[in-house]
């Protein structure tokens, strides 16, 4: 039986399997957004509680399971980020970490990382991001990982609002095109 169906039938072992496969990605995403291990672990916990509580609300026709879980993780992490009073300080740390991480290129696979389920998907996404021009990749990062609005991105980057919107729209089109072949490996 597919994992999703087992989750919907409240099979506890299915939740454990979902955790084993997705926890590294959820934690990685939360960490990328929050840059704080403790908070990221809190998000990880919240995400699996929410997934278990609301699995019935997931509509397979509207999207695969993994992006649904990732969207929950992103929203949770961004909520935590917005709650912070040290928002700007964290943002600066994020900038430093981002440049240190040099996330613009495909990361050299750590042997441990490469064994994580879904690693090929990760590589495909990185390839798609790397194919974007720098200015588009930057606005995508600010919108997705920091949850900034178009206006906030414009202020942060010093670009006109119309330019930000155009860059995001073009980037989204390219990403959708590039990631069309990515399928939910859990489906």
């Amino acid at each position: 039986m597919a994992l999703l169906r087992r989750l919907k039938s409240r099979e506890e072992r299915a939740l454990a399997e979902l955790y084993d496969q997705l926890a590294p990605w959820v934690l990685g995403l939360a960490l990328r957004i929050l840059q704080d291990e403790g908070e990221a672990e809190d998000v990880l916990s919240d995400v699996f509680v929410q997934v278990w509580d609301h699995i019935d609300q997931h509509d397979a026709k509207r999207g695969a399971l993994v992006p649904w879980v990732l969207s929950i993780a992103r929203n949770r992490a961004l909520d935590a980020l917005r709650r912070r009073r040290r928002w700007w300080r964290k943002a600066e740390r994020w900038e430093r970490a981002r440049s240190a991480e040099t996330g613009d290129h495909i990361p050299a696979p750590d042997p441990a990382e490469a064994s994580v389920p879904g690693w090929p998907v990760h590589q495909a996404i990185h390839a798609a991001l790397a194919a974007l021009p720098e200015e588009q990749r930057r606005v995508v990062g600010l919108a997705y990982f920091e949850g900034l609005t178009h206006s906030e991105i414009a202020r942060r980057t010093g670009q006109p609002l119309g330019t930000v919107k155009t860059r995001l729209r073009i980037a989204q089109g390219k990403l959708e095109e590039s990631l069309r072949q990515v399928r939910d490996w859990m489906a």
């Binding site: 955790y19 995403l29 699996f48 992103r74 991480e101 798609a128 995508v140 997705y144 995001l168 990403l175």
Partner: protein, 197 residues
């Protein structure tokens, strides 16, 4: 934005001890919610039962109070009616001493001319024999009209309000006789009093 972008972040293996904590929290919450739901349902049922019981009690109390109110209102109205005979400027008070079975009593008539009603108080009358009653009569220009049949089993005073005969006959006086228990159409028994106004 692509739903898959979240996976562009580098995966981060969670600390091993986190697994049991996260899963335990998710599953425990579900159990607690189940217990809460059952507890909540129990409380809701109890609350509904309390509400129903309260509604029934309230309805009964209201019905009782309504009955009591109506009874008191009727008493007040009767008292007002009686008082109007006493204080009314159009009332005439007639007291008739009577003797029944060797006992001395009195009949007091409060006659209201505007309302065409009488309030009659009988006191000191001897109780009737089991097959007898006192019967009060209007003496009219068209003959005797029965006003009331009053079987008296005790010697407690009796008060009654009487309407004048409705057949346009003129009341000239009043009388009381002792008749059969169910009363008579015309006085035939011993006369207690006979009075022309």
């Amino acid at each position: 934005m692509s739903d898959w972008l979240g996976m562009s972040a580098r995966p981060q293996a969670p600390r091993p001890e986190l697994r049991a904590r996260v899963l335990g929290r998710a599953l425990e919450r579900q159990r607690v919610r189940g217990v809460r739901w059952r507890g909540g349902a129990g409380l809701a049922v109890a609350a509904v039962m309390v509400l129903i019981a309260g509604a029934v009690w309230g309805y009964r109390a209201l019905t009782t109070l309504r009955g009591e109110r109506d009874r008191l209102w009727a008493e007040v109205q009767a008292a007002r009616d009686s008082l109007s005979y006493v204080v009314g400027t159009t009332s005439r008070v007639i007291q008739i001493p009577v003797s029944t079975n060797g006992r001395v009593g009195a009949i007091t008539i409060f006659a209201d001319r505007t309302k065409h009603r009488w309030l009659v108080r009988c006191e000191g009358l001897a109780p009737n024999e089991p097959d007898q009653s006192y019967q009060l009569w209007f003496i009219t220009d068209k003959g005797m009209r029965s006003a009331a049949v009053m079987p008296m089993n005790t010697d407690t005073p009796m008060v009654l309000a009487l309407d004048m005969p409705g057949d346009s006959s003129r009341v000239l006086g009043a009388a009381m006789s002792i008749e059969a228990r169910q009363g008579a159409s015309a006085p035939t028994g011993p006369m207690v009093f006979h009075l022309t106004l």
